[in-house]
Symmetry: C2
Subunit: 219 residues, 2 copies
């Protein structure tokens, strides 16, 4: 009995990690689509998100059954609750990838004037976010509290880049009206990345919770 | 024993509703602060959000204890899982109120040129969102599936207003460079309201789930 239960717990964690990898890939694809103005890739992001939403439902059902049938207590219950709450965070990160993809579809249609400097900064911000997502999934598997703290600290870098991109865009938009539609999209996309960073921080808080049972704000 | 358990379940639902009311009030305060350029009110929004985050933690602890000590099954477990998942949605709605408040603090400092027409539209969008939040809390208490469907449909109105506000802002910003910083804030605030509408839709999906045990997308 305990053996089956352990297998089910393992399989729940495996599904959660799989969902995390799917979300990470979709964020990357969305940012790539944005930089390359690739509408076809943007559409793939939207399609992939359906699979992400489905896996979230599957995970929730697994958690529900585990609780109902196995009546877990203490640390097992804590890990189930963590997966339930953190899978919402992953799902929202996925939603932001879709929002980025929507900007791509809009930008392409309007034939906006581009700002290469800003696009470079967005690529830089996306790179930091990507590392945060990957590192947090890795830290989750190892329940590595030290790593969780370090990753959460990195989020200030994502926030700083958002502020910088914002200022750059406002400056360019005030100088050249043709930059206005694209500029607002740059700001929006950078804002989505900033929020993805916040969700990664939430996941880091959950890693600390898994270890300590205490939920505290890391940023 | 069952009596104590029922009381605890009731108290969990009461806390969830209380959290919902707090979030709703904070969204209203944030929008008011935005329209009136009221920095002091914006700071109050940020302060209130701390209390909202705390009540979310309290609710999670209540849910955790209920599961661990009472080992609920079927519909009771479903309602506990609902409260756990939906309180994350409320918390994020609260985060968007804070984002709106941050815009207020930024706008005030920059002495931006205003666009009264857009401000009127944002007030209109906020009014629809407010009704959606209130109605969803009410539908949650009564587990009213019909109401949940109706509320979720209203979300298209919020989305349409977002598109309209976006277009209006882009037009004005292209005409007048002085409008640029304020215009990007209008777009951002309208986007936060749009996303709050999405979270209300999530809560509506949870109301359907409470009744039917099925999780499906309402929008």
């Amino acid at each position: 009995m305990r053996r089956i239960y352990d297998d089910e717990l393992k399989s729940m964690h495996a599904q959660f990690t799989k969902m995390g990898l799917m979300v990470n890939e979709n964020i990357l694809l969305a940012v790539k689509a944005f930089i390359n103005h690739d509408k076809e890739a943007a559409n793939r992001v939207k399609k992939n998100d359906k699979a992400i939403n489905n896996i979230e439902l599957e995970i929730e059902e697994m958690c529900f059954k585990l609780i109902a049938l196995q009546q877990p207590v203490s640390s097992d219950l804590r890990s189930i609750v963590t997966v339930m709450k953190a899978s919402s965070d992953l799902e929202r990160m996925g939603d932001h990838a879709v929002s980025i993809a929507r900007s791509v579809i809009r930008v392409k249609e309007l034939h906006n004037k581009r700002i290469p400097l800003v696009e470079g900064k967005i690529a830089e911000q996306a790179e930091v976010v990507k590392d945060m997502v990957e590192d947090s999934l890795d830290a989750y598997i190892r329940i590595d509290v030290e790593a969780a703290y370090t990753i959460a600290e990195t989020d200030t870098k994502v926030d700083d880049l958002f502020v910088e991109i914002n200022k750059l865009c406002l400056k360019e938009m005030a100088k050249d009206a043709e930059v206005v539609p694209g500029g607002t999209d740059y700001i929006a996309v950078s804002g989505y990345l900033e929020r993805i960073g916040d969700y990664v921080t939430n996941i880091c808080e959950r890693i600390v919770y898994l270890k300590t049972g205490e939920l505290s704000e890391l940023n």
